[in-house]
Symmetry: C3
Subunit: 138 residues, 3 copies
């Protein structure tokens, strides 16, 4: 049995941003030398997400607008912000988009359907954040 | 260590449909001969979901109606649809319901609570789609 | 390869409650003697969730209030309740918050970012419920 651990670090230019990280995950799978197994990819922060969807700019804008509606910003709206924070909305939006994905590795590759791509969604950015890639298999 | 990979193919009769796939996953677990491990089940498409909930027809209707409210249909509502697509709503609904489930295998069986069942939720159906089952363990 | 299975049982005092279970999961990881691997934690019930976020009381209140808005209570609102149940809202809220988390184990510990904590979210409590912890690795 093999295991492999990789931490990605990134800092988004904007406060809210969706970044395609598929190629970094593919690189980790290659380095792991795992041919059959599972690959976990998760945000290590609680105001950002890792999710799988389509690489299409319009859709990314749709996601951002939709999340604004589902979990509006506004310091006065949330009790969490009484602690001095202003990012309660980010905790909620990350919950909708999810913390993590688990992807199968088959024949040494991410076993993806035709349009699957892995994204990091930042909801409270402009500072250094980490993503964890953990691979187990053989 | 054992690993096992199975692809299910299905084509729903309706555009939006929720299908119970528990027995197919149980069959894969049996064929894998894994007694202790993890079973990943994911949609290989970005407009459909795999999730765990209750086998109850009324609840399936509730899910569909609720998702209509959370992520309404409407070509003109979404930038993604400017690409010629009409399924932006399906990308959003799949996000609420989730891409994948990870289920424990204990003593050779899915280690489920009393009511847990695995479902495929299609939001842009009437065409051939695939589900991936990946099992690792011993 | 090692595997380890642990069932937690809990009964919340309130119908809707969010409980921090991080220390119980850490204990399971220690007992498993797994140094590198994956840890699945899932609710075994379909009206409750396991999720990762921040240990902050105001935020827990924000989550509860937000879910009331996204998936309102009300027996008459849902077809599921025609079966005699009154908890359709709980099935929906659990879907937003998620059934499970998968956490990496590195150097014998949960490989967490600075604020990550594991919670059980009960939406139909005041009765005995179970959480499953499954660990695989080496």
């Amino acid at each position: 049995m093999k295991t492999y651990t990789k931490y990605l670090t990134l800092k988004t230019a904007k406060k809210i941003e969706i970044v395609n990280i598929t190629s970094q995950v593919e690189e980790a799978v290659e380095k792991s030398q795992v041919k059959e197994g599972l690959c976990l990819v998760n945000s290590m922060h609680i105001t950002s997400s890792v999710f799988i969807n389509d690489e299409e700019e319009g859709l990314k804008e749709d996601f951002k607008k939709w999340l604004e509606k589902l979990a509006p910003d506004g310091v006065e709206k949330y009790k969490h912000n009484l602690t001095g924070e202003d990012n309660a909305y980010a905790h909620l939006r990350r919950t909708v988009m999810g913390r993590e994905v688990v992807v199968a590795i088959t024949n040494g590759n991410l076993d993806f359907g035709p349009w699957e791509q892995i994204f990091y969604a930042e909801f409270d950015g402009q500072r250094s954040k980490r993503i964890l890639i953990k691979i187990i298999g053989e």
